[in-house]
């Protein structure tokens, strides 16, 4: 029996009132009857026939663009609101980390808030009392626990909210992007707690824009697009498919001549992307070509990648440099070079042209990467600089960590017996 069973769930949000978001009794009476007024004027379908199971002990990650229905789905699973059609069945106690510290009263002490919040989440008073020390310890509040909550820093507030919710000891934990709000230490602590939960065989459903978390934490991923399930299964596969689609949307948006701000990809949070320059020369198209000659966004680690860039000079130029840069999703530069660094001397350039950078082996570990492409003068003044506008993904069956995967071999001598295929790490 699955821990969470979602069957053909639809959720329709109704909008009431003709001009205002809420109606008034007067307008209801004037326009002919209260009951008529209670009928919606327009509807919005947030979820459109979603079905999936989460087996006990599994961690499911849900990805999707803003407005794709992720949070609606999570709320329905939590029991906040009912689906318009379909069924949701959850086995065991649910705790939802949707907003930390929702329901704290600023005027009373942390201690009293813990009790009230715990009871709101379904614990009895005695149960809260039993867990109280754990909660305070996790929140690192010390003697502040007896101060009014309004005196807390936002970090203390969040830690306390998280501590209460997590100590409800749920069988199913629902998490909605709460990790995005905390500092590093807090995030780390939460992740540890999640790992703890997984070890105890509890079920977690996680909604996040941090795709890295999905591939790292989840056993399974679900991609929600406009209220429907687009893909479900292996987290890496789903995230790759999602990233490819997001990147595809980006490419399409770049088809027109003046480049609009790129569609925000999920991983563009770190490092601002953009485009600038004098436009004396422009980058018209950037294509990433795989080993089979097909343009794509997903590359196998260790396979070749060709960066093909179509450029055009608006007027004849004698002073020009072409450059590229590879970055991880969180903005760490993996490699950057240009024609000047590599000793190429520009002579002349007019009209259209193409430059190609061939990478024989893309020795990067699996993950999302982004690309800078630039044309500029030798003194650095840009003609056209495309900052982190292109993304690609490196996939790999291996789960090694870091950024760079050098070609390597394992060898064993002496009394070590070890089996398994011997590869160079590129698999």
């Amino acid at each position: 029996m699955p821990a969470v069973e979602v069957r053909d769930v639809r959720k329709i949000y109704r909008r009431y009132g003709r001009r205002k978001s809420f109606g008034t009794l007067k307008s209801a009476l004037l326009s002919g009857g209260v009951l008529k007024h209670l009928r919606p004027d327009s509807v919005f379908q947030a979820l459109d026939g979603v079905s999936f199971d989460v087996r006990p002990g599994a961690t499911l990650g849900i990805v999707g663009r803003n407005g794709s229905g992720k949070s609606s789905l999570l709320k329905l699973i939590a029991g906040i609101g009912k689906p318009s059609a379909g069924t949701i069945h959850v086995t065991g106690r649910v705790s939802a980390l949707i907003e930390l510290g929702a329901g704290f009263h600023p005027e009373i002490s942390g201690r009293e808030n813990v009790f009230i919040n715990g009871m709101m989440l379904g614990l009895s008073k005695a149960e809260v009392a039993r867990r109280f020390d754990d909660i305070v310890a996790f929140a690192e509040l010390g003697e502040f626990i007896d101060e009014p909550v309004k005196t807390y820093s936002s970090g203390m507030y969040m830690r306390l909210g998280f501590a209460v919710a997590i100590n409800v000891d749920p069988d199913v934990l629902l998490v909605d992007e709460v990790l995005a709000v905390g500092d590093e230490a807090f995030t780390h602590k939460c992740l540890e707690k999640f790992a703890d939960f997984r070890r105890q065989g509890k079920t977690i459903v996680l909604v996040t824009h941090t795709l890295d978390l999905i591939t790292r934490l989840c056993d399974e991923a679900l991609w929600l697009d406009a209220g429907r399930v687009r893909a479900q299964g292996d987290p890496k596969r789903v995230v790759d498919a999602y990233l490819t689609e997001v990147a595809g949307a980006e490419d399409r948006s770049q088809a027109g001549a003046p480049l609009p701000a790129a569609v925000a990809t999920a991983d563009s949070a770190a490092g601002a992307s953009g485009r600038w320059g004098s436009q004396d020369a422009v980058i018209e198209q950037v294509e990433l070509v795989r080993h089979d000659g097909q343009p794509g966004h997903v590359f196998e680690s260790g396979q070749p990648m060709r960066i093909r860039v179509r450029v055009r000079a608006a007027r004849p130029l004698q002073d020009f440099v072409f450059g590229i840069g590879l970055f991880t999703a969180d903005g760490v530069c993996c490699f950057g070079t240009n024609t000047q660094i590599e000793g190429r001397v520009p002579r002349e350039w007019s009209g259209a042209g193409t430059f190609i950078v061939d990478i024989d082996r893309l020795d990067l570990v699996a993950g999302a990467y982004r690309l800078d492409v630039a044309v500029h003068r030798q003194d650095g003044v840009p003609y056209d600089y495309h900052r982190l506008l292109y993304s690609f993904r490196v996939s790999s069956p291996l789960k090694d960590t870091g950024i760079y995967r050098p070609r390597h071999q394992w060898m064993f001598e002496g009394g070590i017996g070890i089996s398994g295929s011997d590869g160079d790490g590129a698999a």
Binding site: G79, A96, K125
Partner: protein, 265 residues
């Protein structure tokens, strides 16, 4: 609906904690503490006593119950509970919207907390009443007092039913609150709190008989103020039945609107 009702029962410890929190949060940081709750009724008490016994001490002055201030107290105390509960329940779901949208939480707890907070204030007010009664040299304890819990329960049911109805409907019709404010003013003057029913001309009596709070106020006055045995249990029984029906109806409406609450607040 029954399952939801059971859940409310399960949450009763939360209700009592929330009531305690309401009271504590309200009085924290104030010098006079919980007496602020009585400043308004006491103010009304003073003004009405002055107006009706000094300014308007005309032909009918002799017919007023004496001491008039104590008589007023009997009616104003439960009325304050009734009025503040209803007014607050109009906004309680909207101000508590964060809870309803973000936490799995039976929303009917919020209006219930409002009504029960009012009840605690009312009970504390009875202590003040006892003090005033002693000041006037009136007997505080009488055999009639055994009826008091029954009346309080009837008023509780009535108030709770209306609070559930109003709180859920206000989410959809925000001007209900303004409407209610005016209605309550009318209701107050149409209820024998400042006067007794016997002062009302015969031909208007039926209107007063239809007003549920007439019977409540009269019962409080009979028990707490007038001498003689309390014998108004018959209208009280009818009112009790009606209040119970209203409570069920209020809960039914609230339950029907429950799923729209999280979307509309």
């Amino acid at each position: 609906m029954l399952a939801n009702l059971r859940q409310v029962f399960r949450y009763r410890a939360l209700i009592s904690s929330l009531v305690a929190r309401e009271l504590k949060a309200r009085y924290r940081g104030s010098v006079l503490g919980f007496f602020w709750t009585f400043v308004n009724p006491l103010l009304l008490l003073g003004i009405y006593t002055f107006v009706f016994t000094v300014v308007l001490s005309g032909a009918r002055a002799g017919t007023r119950p004496e001491p008039y201030a104590l008589f007023l107290f009997c009616g104003i105390l439960p009325w304050t509970w009734f009025q503040s509960s209803l007014l607050e329940s109009c906004s309680v779901l909207i101000t508590g919207g964060n809870l309803i949208r973000k936490v799995l939480f039976p929303a009917e707890i919020l209006p219930a907390v409002t009504v029960f907070t009012g009840l605690v204030n009312f009970l504390l007010g009875l202590l003040v009443f006892a003090a005033v009664a002693i000041y006037y040299g009136r007997p505080v304890v009488s055999a009639d007092l055994v009826w008091l819990p029954a009346i309080v329960v009837v008023q509780l049911a009535l108030t709770l039913g209306l609070a559930l109805l109003l709180s859920s409907l206000t989410v959809h019709f925000r001007d209900l609150r303004d409407l209610l404010g005016n209605l309550l003013t009318l209701w107050f003057w149409g209820t024998p709190i400042l006067y007794t029913v016997s002062e009302v001309p015969e031909r208007f009596r039926w209107v007063f008989a239809l007003n549920p709070f007439t019977h409540l106020a009269a019962a409080y006055q009979e028990i707490l103020f007038f001498d003689g045995r309390f014998d108004g249990w018959r209208p009280l029984l009818v009112l009790g039945g009606a209040a119970a029906l209203l409570l069920v109806f209020g809960y039914f409406v609230f339950d029907r609107l429950r799923d729209t609450l999280a979307e509309e607040v």
